[in-house]
Amino acid sequence: MKWDWNAVSDFMPMFWHGLLVTLEALALGAVLAFVLGLVWAMMQRSEHAAVRWPVMAVTEFVRNTPLLVQLFFLFYVLPEWGLTLSALTTGVIGLGLHYSTYTAEVYRAGIDGVPVGQWEAATALSLPRARTWFAVILPQAIRRVVPALGNYVVAMLKDTPMIFVIGVLEMLGEARQYSAQTFHTVEPITIVGIAFIVISYPASLLLRVLERRLVR
């Protein structure tokens, strides 16, 4: 198979569009994973078993089933229940929900790492629960787990091509579409592969620096 530079330049407009969609899905998915994961982690610390147990069950379930299955489920089953979302929104929810079960574990480790004396001091000062969480515990807990959270963003980046299965034209989707139209496969796939490396490798390096800075 011959490398065709014309195919490269021909593919670029579609690539840029796909890149944008990938980054959009990644950014929104990551935000969702960060927020939801935090909610899970805090709920798992609830004093009420009626809160802890369902959260535990749901997160275990989601973590232990394939993202691909979850994406199909969201895409085909939610509309049955009258909830029709765009493919991208569905993809973002799928990615965010799936990864929230991992970030929940990360937060949990961070929260467990805060000395019990911090909780006791907050109690001794009668700080309201929200202040205890948001002003005392979480700033200490999250600082330590920023690199671990970042690792999951990189992992999520590598999972973004999966949302192609529900019809989102992210980078891989655009490449597939381009090759279906032109029968040029090597060029678009190679470009997409390079794009993943170009994004994720510096991100990993950055995380290593952060790790050295934040985790002591």
Partner: protein, 271 residues
């Protein structure tokens, strides 16, 4: 009860009139099968400085932690300023206290920990203003003014903008004292507050506490192995053994001519 209807209302009579401020009534505390406090009764009058002494494991820390609501009694009741701390009087019957009630009564109690437990993510100033602003509802200006007065009292005025880790242990403990006092508690609980410090830093902390003991009417409940300090500041000394008060009295009495052999043994071991 008033505590339910108006959270900001003072539920503890703030007047220092020598009346009973703390009452333990048949308090039992177990950890697993280990009964640490066995039907303990004791009272502390308001304004008094009381030191708890006794051998390791006798339950001194447990008493302070019960008062701070860090742990719950298995049996018995604790009252602070006439209000039940762990229970609520609902139509004549005692039920376990709700969160709101506990908060209200607990506001009048402050504690300084052996390990300081300052919030490392906050500067000294915010360590002190955090609770007055978010619990008492003081404005930032009011809280900072209060904090500056207290920093002056503990001799750390120039350290307001540092993080706790930038301070020595003795300085951190003085910040912790200021932080507890900023809530204007009626009772200050001190659990071996100098035992985590390097020896040369102990005196500075004890001086501050002496100063507070002599210049305020705050009630103090103090666990310490610093017997000279205990002698200086205490109105009463309670000697604990195996979760019971076996002897109490003025420091002169307890330290010079205790009635109990057990007290004598203990003192000769620590002095």
């Amino acid at each position: 009860m008033s505590a339910d209807s108006s959270p900001s209302k003072e539920t503890v009579n703030p007047a220092v009139d020598g009346s009973e401020l703390i009452r333990f009534d048949k308090v039992t505390k177990r950890f697993g099968g280990n009964t640490v406090l066995d039907s303990l009764d004791f009272t502390v009058s308001s304004g008094k400085h009381v030191t708890l002494i006794g051998p390791s494991g006798s339950g001194k820390t447990t008493i302070l932690r019960l008062l701070m609501t860090l742990i719950k009694p298995d049996e018995g009741t604790i009252k602070v300023g006439g209000e039940y701390l762990t229970h609520e009087d609902r139509g004549g019957s005692l039920v376990p206290a709700g969160e709101k009630h506990v908060r209200e009564v607990r506001k009048h109690i402050g504690m300084v920990f052996q390990q300081f437990n300052l919030f490392p993510n906050m500067k000294v100033m915010r360590n002190i203003t955090e609770a007055p602003m978010h619990v008492l509802g003081l404005s930032r200006d009011e809280a900072e003014e209060r904090a500056r007065e207290l920093l002056d009292l503990v001799d750390l005025t120039e350290h307001a903008d540092k993080y706790p880790t930038q301070l020595s242990g003795g300085q951190q403990q003085r910040v912790a004292i200021a932080r507890a006092l900023a809530m204007r508690p009626q009772v200050l609980l001190l659990d071996e507050v100098t035992s985590a410090l390097d020896p040369e830093l102990v005196a500075g902390v004890l001086d501050v506490l002496r100063d507070i003991a002599h210049s305020t009417d705050i009630t103090m409940l103090c666990v310490t192995h610093e017997m000279n300090f205990a002698r200086d500041i205490s109105d009463d000394v309670l000697m604990f053994d195996a979760g019971r008060v076996i002897e109490s009295g003025s420091p002169e009495k307890i330290f010079s001519e205790p009635d109990h052999e057990r007290t004598r043994q203990f003192l000769s071991a620590v002095l």
